[in-house]
């Protein structure tokens, strides 16, 4: 799933306003009262999706049960609403959480932290701080000039795109909470360790000169106080914006997943991305580098691959590589980092991913 530059260069995770600003605002209590009802309704539809998709595929459409086409279509009809519903829930919830954080606040929290504590904090904050790839450069500069150590900044930059709420939500819904938790834990660990290593290597000299010459500009104060209602609206805006942006990729990912599900024989993946082969994990990592997909699109593919017997470690490594080692982001960061530092960054993160891949192949094998 090679993406063109203009789509990939900005994987923004913030909301945008609705087209018409002339809406009668709903009071907060009304929104909160609607919540249990909404969730009950959601749950009702969600738990019946499997039965419904079977019904649609085999009863309403003239497809034979047990056929390859049947398996693909059923997967498609089942996964699409399932993924969409999960996404809506996850993006909304995380959107509300994110309304409590901002890059400016994160920067203040991280300035001057000692190395290891800073790395852990930065990685954790990377999950909840709204972050846009296109602001990677200003963010980097802002952090560094405000006194956030280089390694700590990197921990943030690695964690933010990788441990992404969409990825976690989808993994949880499609594959299971264990894999989601594993992904989160290993993603965070890689972010922390990689950032720490980079910090210890003292590569501050490899930041582009013009950045080093910048003095810390006055902290731009954009703290606005949000009411609860504002936060709910923020969450809703996030849903509209993010799903509006990724739904095509999701459908594409599900279509590919459906194809794999229906037409690839059981156990085939096991022989290709088999556990025993030492080259499977590095291959998965290398394959992931030129590919850039937002998390939403890649996970249905991951789900299908795992269902066909692909090794967990190789699949996780592939997914992390696609998301974390993205060529477009490297190109953007080249503006502020000298090649040596970029090289170290790639090497450290790739190594971390490799270790994760091998570890899980071994443990699950």
């Amino acid at each position: 799933m090679l993406k063109s530059m203009d789509n990939a260069s900005c994987s923004c995770q913030g909301p945008e306003p609705a087209e018409s600003d002339v809406r009668r605002p709903l009071p907060a209590w009304m929104m909160l009262a609607a919540a249990p009802l909404g969730i009950a309704l959601w749950w009702l539809v969600y738990t019946h999706l499997a039965a419904f998709s079977k019904f649609l595929t085999y009863r309403l459409l003239p497809i034979a049960s047990g056929s390859h086409l049947g398996a693909s279509v059923e997967f498609l009809l089942y996964d699409t609403p399932k993924v969409m519903m999960l996404l809506v829930l996850v993006v909304f919830g995380v959107g509300v959480i994110r309304s409590y954080f901002s890059p400016e606040r994160t920067r203040a929290l991280l300035a001057g932290r000692s190395l290891l504590v800073g790395n852990v904090l930065a990685a954790l904050l990377g999950i909840v701080t709204p972050f846009c790839s296109c602001s990677a450069v200003p963010l980097f500069i802002g952090f560094v000039t405000a006194g956030v150590p280089l390694g700590v900044t990197f921990s943030f930059l690695i964690a933010a795109p990788m441990v992404n709420e969409i990825a976690l939500g989808l993994l949880y819904g499609l594959v299971g909470w264990q894999v989601a938790a594993l992904y989160a834990a290993t993603g965070l660990t890689i972010a922390i360790v990689a950032g720490w290593v980079i910090g210890r290597l003292h590569l501050e000299g490899h930041v582009e000169d013009w950045v080093q010459q910048m003095t810390a500009a006055d902290q731009a104060p954009v703290e606005t106080n949000m009411t609860l209602r504002d936060r709910l609206v923020y969450g809703k805006d996030a849903v509209v914006e993010i799903i509006g942006r990724v739904w095509k990729y999701i459908l594409l990912g599900i279509a590919i997943g459906a194809g794999i599900h229906g037409f690839v024989p059981e156990g085939f993946m096991a022989s290709v991305m088999g556990r025993g082969d030492w080259w499977a994990v590095p291959l998965a990592v290398v394959l992931g580098v030129p590919m850039y997909s937002n998390a939403a699109g890649i996970i249905p593919v991951v789900e299908a691959l795992l269902g066909k017997g692909a090794a967990l470690g190789s699949t996780l490594a592939f997914m992390m590589s696609v998301i974390a080692l993205s060529l477009p982001e490297m190109v953007i960061l080249r503006k502020v980092l000298k090649p040596r530092l970029i090289g170290v960054f790639i090497a450290v993160v790739a190594t971390g991913i490799l270790i994760v891949g091998y570890l899980f192949n071994m443990v699950m094998g």
Binding site: D6, S9, C10, C12, G14, P15, E16, P17, D21, S102, P103, E104, R107, P130, F131, C132, C134, S135, V137, P138, L139, I141, G142, F143, T145, W210, V211, M214, A216, A217, D218, Q219, A220, P221, V222, K335, V336
Partner: protein
Amino acid sequence: MEIQILGPGCARCEKTAKVVKEVVAETGTDARVEKVTDMMQIAAHGVVSTPAVLVDGVVKSAGKIPKKDEVAGWLK
């Protein structure tokens, strides 16, 4: 009044510029709207998240596309 929109040129930054220009036109405010895409200049303003909007050098919004009534409020 001088308005600057900071952003490296991604979709959200373009959208922000569009919103700001529309509101300026609709309210008939006498303002010069400028789009800044150079990273060095953006960072020099102390902005860490784009798109950002500055009115007469003061940061009014960062990291999101401002709503029309928000923009109108700045122009008063």
